[in-house]
């Protein structure tokens, strides 16, 4: 076994799993160039749907809303969810089990129920439905995902490093920024990425929290199903995937230069 590189069988296996991840995505990209509006079979090549996409102000607006909601809800959920993970994994306090249980509720409860309960709650307190209510709901279902993943990272965390840092004269804050956070960072990052992913694609809870003019992309696409999910949606996904991929590749290159 080589020291740096994983074993060959592991690399082959991982390659196959990535293939599994990207096979539907390739199909989806190919079909964004399909001339057939119903997008059931391949008919011919066209760039028409990209033009349609750029001229579709409704879809653009929905995309903007989706990104804003996903970004804000991920940020808030990651910060307070990480704090909660630290609290649950390291401290004992009154109401511990209760809070731990509450944190599992959004994972457990069917989306429809959570959606309707939030809708009823917003209606009860006369809170106008819109982007704000969607964001509030997304934060609520994102927190548990962040907390769980960060807790898994914190589990078995060697406290002696922190103690050593403090012994060297660093205060809690410095210790947290310089020692604790970098150590749990992979957990925080994983949690944040899961939260972002969930938020981008949520339909049910978003549906019930949405108000006039606050449409997100999943809402738009889901209601298109009955007529035809046109290749326009594929085109949008294609652009989005390619953009992120380019950013990722650039970051890889930049990092390589730095090291």
């Amino acid at each position: 076994m080589s020291e740096k590189k994983p074993a060959l069988w592991l690399r082959i296996f991982s390659f196959l799993v990535y293939l599994y991840f990207y096979l539907p995505i390739l199909i989806l990209i190919v079909f964004s160039f399909n001339t057939q509006k119903l997008n059931v079979r391949w008919e011919g090549f066209t760039l028409k749907w990209y033009e349609v996409l750029f001229n579709d102000s409704n879809v653009m607006l929905a995309t903007r809303n989706t990104l804003i909601i996903a970004f804000i809800s991920t940020l808030v959920a990651t910060v307070i969810g990480t704090m909660a993970a630290l609290a649950l994994q390291r401290y004992r306090f009154p109401g511990y089990t209760l809070i731990e249980s509450i944190l599992y509720i959004p994972v457990i409860i069917p989306e429809v129920v959570m959606g309707i309960s939030l809708l009823a709650f917003f209606a009860l307190i006369k809170f106008q439905l819109g982007l704000v209510t969607i964001t509030i709901s997304h934060i609520a279902f994102n927190i548990p995902f962040v907390t769980l993943v960060v807790r898994a990272r914190l589990h078995g965390f060697d406290k002696s490093i922190e103690e050593a840092s403090m012994d060297l004269g660093a205060n809690e804050l410095t210790t947290f920024w310089r020692v604790t956070l970098p150590t749990i960072m992979p957990g925080v990052l994983s949690g944040a990425m899961l939260a972002f992913t969930l938020s981008l694609d949520d339909y049910v809870i978003t549906y019930f929290s949405a108000g006039p003019g606050a449409t997100t992309l999943p809402l738009r696409v889901f209601s298109m199903v009955r007529f035809a999910v046109t290749p326009e949606v594929n085109a949008l996904s294609t652009l989005w995937v390619l953009t992120v991929l380019v950013i990722l590749l650039i970051s890889q290159v930049v990092q390589k230069r730095q090291t």
Binding site: Q36, L38, V40, R41, S57, N58, M60, L61, T63, R64, L67, I68, F71, I116, L119, A120, F122, A123, L124, K126, Q128, L129, P182, M185, L189, Y207, F208, A210, G211, P212, G213, A214, T215, L219, R220, F222, S223, M224, V225, R226, F227, A228, V229, T243, V244, I247, L248, I250, S251, V254, Q255, Q258
Partner: protein
């Protein structure tokens, strides 16, 4: 931590870019329309804004029940909604709709007389017809060679694994009840039990239940025949002319979608203006050009006949958009079954979750 920073930077950038894309209409002069998606032509909305200066927010739902759930929970902020027939009954009974100010609907007389005063709203106090259609039998005649005329043909063993049904207990159990010669809105436990047994016999033939897009399985050749909406059938027919829409001997469902104003709509007057506006034949015709449903607007169809005879003929000669008088007599609306809903739900659950 550079990679994270770079990623965050990229993300922020893409959001800023997206944020420049445009802002929602902010004025008070708005109309919040809540409807099925792909159901209201953008051109019509643009014309409305041009004529009245009222901006339209067009949000979408994908089932009547989703609409009701949203309105039932409390003020939603919407001004115009498009519920179907049985939904109207429920919404009126629950006090979810605002009565229409009929003096403001001068174009109401454009509607076919036969399509006004329907049972769910006998005086049209709350609703005005928008579009209507049916959900009947669809057959791929390229695959099925023998003529299909009735629902009972679905039970033929030669169609094992070749049938698609709507994933909708009211449509499916209603169809089975009509095959048995019963009322499709039956609340009789005995009849429903019989329907359950009959449906279980059909299960080996059922490849899938799909309410969202039954045409997809049909066009892909996964199934040969089944149950679908007229709009779905029309779209499938355009792709593959072998796909035919049949109004079976036992009859099938007719549905009417209606414009209505929810209780406490924030922009009542704008809503009334909109309702009258869409009944204008010049505007109504836009719907028929874009979407393959049946238009209740007599004046609009007359206009289509003079302006575009070819489109008019296509509309009149296709059973999915224009059923014959004979066919019409066999169509029946779905009605709310009230307290028997629990029984229907249980039977449906038993059929699907049986073993």
């Amino acid at each position: 931590m550079n990679k994270y920073k770079l990623f965050a930077l990229g993300l922020t950038l893409s959001i800023l870019l997206a944020a420049c894309g445009g802002g929602g209409p902010a004025s008070d002069n708005v109309l919040n329309l809540y409807a099925w998606s792909e159901y209201v032509p953008q051109q019509l909305l643009d014309n409305f804004t041009e004529q009245t200066g009222i901006e339209v927010n067009y949000d979408t739902y994908s089932s009547n029940e989703e609409l009701m759930a949203k309105l039932q929970a409390g003020a939603s902020g919407y001004d115009v909604v498009i519920p179907s027939d049985y939904t109207v009954t429920i919404m009126i009974n629950q006090g979810l709709l605002e009565p229409l100010d009929k003096t403001q609907i001068s174009n109401f007389s454009n509607i076919f007389d036969t399509l006004t005063g329907l049972s769910y709203d006998p005086q049209n106090d709350y609703t005005v017809p928008w579009q209507w259609g049916t959900s009947c039998l669809v057959v791929d005649t390229g695959k099925v060679t023998r003529p299909i005329t009735k629902w009972a043909d679905l039970w033929d063993p030669e169609f094992e694994g070749k049938v698609v049904l709507l994933d909708d207990e009211r449509e499916v159990l209603g169809m089975v009840l009509s095959v048995l010669g019963y009322d499709k809105n039956s609340t009789d436990p005995q009849q429903l039990e019989e329907a359950k047994q009959k449906l279980l016999e059909l299960m080996p033939n059922v490849k899938l239940f799909d309410s969202d897009s039954p045409k997809t399985a049909l066009l892909a050749g996964e199934v040969w025949l089944g149950q679908t909406w007229n709009g779905e059938a029309a779209l499938a027919h355009m792709e593959n002319p072998d796909i035919q829409y049949i109004i079976p001997e036992e009859g099938c469902t007719v549905w009417y979608d209606n414009l209505a104003i929810p209780k406490d709509a924030p922009h009542y007057n704008a809503a009334m203006q909109f309702i009258n506006f869409v009944l204008d034949p010049q505007e109504s015709i836009l719907i028929t050009y874009e979407f393959p449903y049946s238009n209740p607007n007599r004046a609009a169809l007359e206009l289509l006949q003079t302006e575009d005879p070819q489109a008019y003929d296509a509309y009149m000669n296709f059973p999915a958009t224009n059923p014959s008088a004979d066919d019409m007599s066999r169509l029946k609306m779905i009605q709310d079954v009230g307290d028997a809903t629990a029984l229907w739900d249980r039977i449906w659950t038993e059929v699907k979750g049986g073993e």
